[in-house]
Symmetry: C2
Subunit: 126 residues, 2 copies
Amino acid sequence: MHRSRLCSLIIDCHANDLGDAARFWSQALGRPVKAGTDTTQEKYIGLVTHDDEPVIELQKVEHPSRVHLDIESDDIEAEVRRLEALGARKVEAIQTWVVMEAPTGHRFCVVRPQRGGMGAHGNQWT
Amino acid sequence: MHRSRLCSLIIDCHANDLGDAARFWSQALGRPVKAGTDTTQEKYIGLVTHDDEPVIELQKVEHPSRVHLDIESDDIEAEVRRLEALGARKVEAIQTWVVMEAPTGHRFCVVRPQRGGMGAHGNQWT
């Protein structure tokens, strides 16, 4: 038995200055950049969202800009196997997460729980 | 004075069969396809999400698969002007919504409130 749910929107930005990108999205979505972020240096910049909202992060990337989804799970291996059985393929394991590709062509990641738990609406898989 | 917030994730699918795409994402995210959907015919297929989760819809598209965000607002014209002032550009008005492009290259839409209100965390702009 393991659990998972959609947890994050990652705004992948092909941008010279991720700080500029973060300032735009912060103001567009009305969510401040996380305090203490060095916006001139970071590969990742997080926005502050409410606990019942998705995590939102900007990531500096070399590929064209896009948005990707993260699914959090308390058992990444089991979740990857579940998603493979649905037709997704494993692309790459990076540090603590796994990059996958959906049958629809979308890349997404399976990550560890981002806020300690699964909130009120986590899925339970047996 | 108007209000807005991030409301929806639209999973744009370059797919022959949007029903197959919906079945994958429904199972991956653990959210059922909306009852009564004719998955063989639709350009849009919605998943059932909780009121405190983003709206999730699949859209059949001709461009490559991607994910785009929707911002809902009780005053679309004012919201478009606000986003233009932040550096976004208006791409196209379609029916009741406006397609925009962020300075980061991401396309997104400004739409009418999707669930009647703005929930607990809508932004208020003066």
